[in-house]
C-alpha cells in the first residue's frame, strides 16, 4: 500500500497515544473548536501564569488522526509560550501547510507540511490552533 508522508510516525504515534490528552481540573481557561463539515471537535483546557504564558494545557479531541495529532503536538509545543509566540507558530504552520515548506524552527510540527497536497485536510491540522487562538483572544478581551 502506498503510504503518505502525511502519516509519518510522529502523526500516527500522537494520534494513537496522545501525551497531552484529557481534562485539566485546574484549568482557568477552556475553549472549543469544531468543524461542522466533518464533526471533528477539539476541547482545550489551560492555565496561564502571571506573565500570560501557558503553564499547562490539555486537549480532548474527537477527530481524525491529523486533527488529533495536531492537537497533541500543539499542546506540547505551546506549553511555556505566550500569545504572541502562539500566533507566530500558527502563522508558520499555516505557511507550511500552504507551501509544503516548513519554516525553520517549526520542529515536529513540520510533519504537517505534506498537507499542501491535501487541500481538503488542512483544516484538520489547523482546527486545534484556531481553537487555541480563539480561547486566548477571549481571555484577553475579558
Amino acid at each position: 500500500m502506498a503510504q503518505d508522508d502525511l502519516y509519518r510516525t510522529v502523526v500516527l504515534e500522537r494520534a494513537k497515544a496522545p501525551r497531552h490528552a484529557g481534562p485539566l481540573p485546574t484549568a482557568t481557561l477552556n475553549g472549543q473548536g469544531s468543524n461542522p463539515l466533518c464533526g471533528d471537535r477539539v476541547q482545550l483546557h489551560a492555565v496561564l501564569d502571571g506573565q500570560g504564558r501557558i503553564e499547562a494545557i490539555r486537549h480532548e479531541t474527537r477527530g481524525c488522526a491529523i486533527c488529533a495529532a495536531s492537537a497533541d503536538l500543539m499542546a506540547g509545543r505551546v506549553t511555556g509560550q505566550n500569545r504572541t509566540r502562539v500566533n507566530r507558530l500558527h502563522a508558520e504552520l499555516v505557511e507550511a501547510v500552504e507551501t509544503g515548506t516548513a519554516p525553520e524552527g517549526l520542529g515536529e510540527l513540520a510533519a504537517f507540511a505534506p498537507l499542501h497536497q491535501h487541500r481538503s485536510r488542512r483544516r484538520c491540522a489547523l482546527l486545534p490552533w484556531s481553537a487555541l487562538i480563539d480561547m486566548l483572544n477571549d481571555d484577553k478581551d475579558r
Partner: protein, 416 residues
C-alpha cells in the same frame, strides 16, 4: 473473486467496452490507476457526452427560442429534442411536463417556492430522516416563510423508511406534500415509492420523489409510480453539471406560479403587468444551459444504449459482491442494511476516522467520499459524525472492489 460475479458483471453490457468510453478512467492518480468510487457524488462522463458538447460549440450553437436564423432554429431543435428524450426516459405523459433546472436542488427549490407557496399554515410537508439537505432545507425555508408544518418521518435501524410511522404521520389528513428520496445517497436504501405514493394519495397528499440517485440505476416510470413530482440531476447520469430536471403532472405545473422571472418565461410584458408563458417555459427564465441540456441528451442516449436491464444486473451483482468483500474487512461496519438497496455503501472502520480512510485510499488512486454526505441529521440519527462511502457506476469493476477491500485492510493494519 467469485466466478458468478465476474460472469454476471461481464454479461451486463460488456464492461470493458463501457470503460473504454470514459477517457478519465485511464488517468493516473499519485502514480496509480484511478479507481473512481464516488459516482454517487457525480459520475464520470463518456466521450459521447464530451464530444457532443464540444461538437455543439464547434458547429451548431446559438441562443434558442428567439433567433429567426438557421443556426438558432437548429439549436432550439436540439435543445427541445432533449425534452422529448427526458419525457421518454421518465415515462412522462407529455413533454410539457419536463422543466429544465440547474440540478435536483434547484428543482426541489422550484417546487418548494412555487407549489409550496400555494400551501397554507396548518398544512404539512412530510420528509424522511434520510433526506439529502437538498430535500430538507428548502422545506425548512418554506416553513419559516409561510408557517406550514414540517414533519419528519423516521427510518428503521437498518436504514429503511419506517412505513408504520409514515402511516401514522399521514393519519391526521393534514399532509399536503410528501417529499422523499427514491434512493438514499448515504445508505443506498431504495424506498418503496409505489407504496409511499399509494399511502400518501389515500391521505390526500401529493408526492415528490428525489430521484437523484435512483434514476441512475433503475428505470423510472413516473406514470406507473403515480408520482406528482420527480427530480433528477444530469451530472449523476453521466451527463454534464448545470442541468437537472423537474418532472411534474401538467395540471400541477399549470396551477403553480412562476419561480424566477425574466426572458423566455413570459407571454406578454408591459410596465403594468406581465403574463406567463405556457408550461414548461413558464418555469424556464433566462437563457438556459443550452450546451449542458444537449449534453444531457447524449448522456441519456448513452444510458439507453446500455439499457437498464444490464445496468441493474451489473450494479446488483457488484453491490452484493462489495457488501461481502467489505464485510470481511476487520473492524469495518456497513451503515445501512435495508434489503432493497443500490450501489452506494457507507461504512465506518473501528479506530480509523473516515477522513483518514479517504486520504489513504486516495494515495492508492482510490476515490471515495468521506464526511456527512450532505445529510447531517441522518448522521446524528445513525449516531456517527461521518462515514466513508463507496459508490458504483456502470464502469465499476469487481477488481476495483477487491482493491478497495484489500487497501482498507491495510489501512486498518496501519492504525491498529
Amino acid at each position: 473473486m467469485d466466478q458468478s460475479v465476474i460472469t454476471s458483471v461481464h454479461a451486463a453490457g460488456s464492461l470493458r467496452h463501457v470503460r473504454a468510453d470514459f477517457p478519465i478512467l485511464s488517468q493516473k492518480v499519485h502514480g496509480k490507476d484511478l479507481v473512481f468510487l464516488d459516482s454517487a457524488a457525480s459520475a464520470q462522463k463518456p466521450r459521447q457526452v464530451i464530444d457532443c458538447m464540444a461538437d455543439t460549440m464547434r458547429t451548431q450553437y446559438a441562443n434558442i427560442h428567439r433567433g429567426l436564423y438557421w443556426m438558432s432554429e437548429r439549436t432550439t431543435e436540439a435543445y427541445e429534442a432533449v425534452r422529448d428524450q427526458v419525457a421518454r426516459f421518465l415515462g412522462a405523459a407529455a413533454r410539457e411536463e419536463v422543466v429544465f433546472t440547474r440540478n435536483s436542488t434547484e428543482a426541489i427549490n422550484l417546487v418548494a417556492h412555487s407549489y409550496g407557496g400555494l400551501l397554507r399554515p396548518g398544512q404539512v410537508v412530510l420528509v424522511s430522516e434520510m433526506e439529502h439537505h437538498a430535500n430538507l432545507v428548502p422545506w425548512q425555508m418554506l416553513r419559516d416563510r409561510t408557517g406550514v408544518e414540517l414533519r419528519i418521518t423516521p427510518i428503521t435501524d437498518d436504514g429503511a423508511l419506517d412505513m408504520e410511522a409514515l402511516a401514522a404521520n399521514l393519519a391526521d389528513g393534514k399532509v399536503a406534500l410528501v417529499a422523499i428520496t427514491h434512493m438514499s445517497n448515504v445508505l443506498g436504501t431504495i424506498t418503496d415509492a409505489r407504496a409511499i405514493i399509494d399511502m400518501a394519495h389515500a391521505a390526500g397528499a401529493k408526492v415528490l420523489l428525489d430521484g437523484s440517485q435512483l434514476a441512475v440505476h433503475r428505470r423510472v416510470d413516473v406514470q406507473a409510480l403515480g408520482a406528482d413530482f420527480y427530480v433528477v440531476t444530469g451530472h449523476k447520469l453521466y451527463g454534464p453539471t448545470g442541468i437537472g430536471v423537474l418532472w411534474a403532472r401538467r395540471e400541477l405545473l399549470e396551477a403553480m406560479p412562476p419561480f424566477l422571472g425574466g426572458g423566455d418565461m413570459i407571454s406578454t410584458v408591459s410596465f403594468e403587468r406581465s403574463t406567463w408563458a405556457n408550461v414548461p417555459h413558464k418555469f424556464e427564465a433566462g437563457t438556459p444551459a443550452i450546451i449542458e441540456t444537449i449534453g444531457l441528451g447524449a448522456a441519456l442516449a448513452y444510458i439507453e444504449s446500455i439499457g437498464f436491464d444490464a445496468i441493474g444486473a451489473h450494479e446488483d451483482a457488484l453491490t452484493a459482491y462489495a457488501l461481502e468483500a467489505l464485510g470481511n474487512v476487520s473492524g469495518l461496519k456497513v451503515i445501512g442494511t435495508a434489503p432493497q438497496r443500490g450501489g452506494v455503501i457507507s461504512f465506518t472502520m473501528k479506530d480509523v476516522h473516515p477522513h483518514d480512510i479517504a486520504t489513504l485510499l486516495d494515495r492508492n488512486g482510490i476515490a471515495v467520499r468521506a464526511g456527512h454526505h450532505c445529510a447531517e441529521p441522518l448522521m446524528r440519527r445513525l449516531g456517527v459524525t461521518a462515514t466513508a462511502r463507496a459508490s458504483f457506476g456502470i464502469y465499476t469493476t469487481p477488481e476495483e472492489i477487491d482493491l478497495l477491500a484489500r487497501t482498507l485492510e491495510q489501512i486498518r493494519g496501519f492504525f491498529v
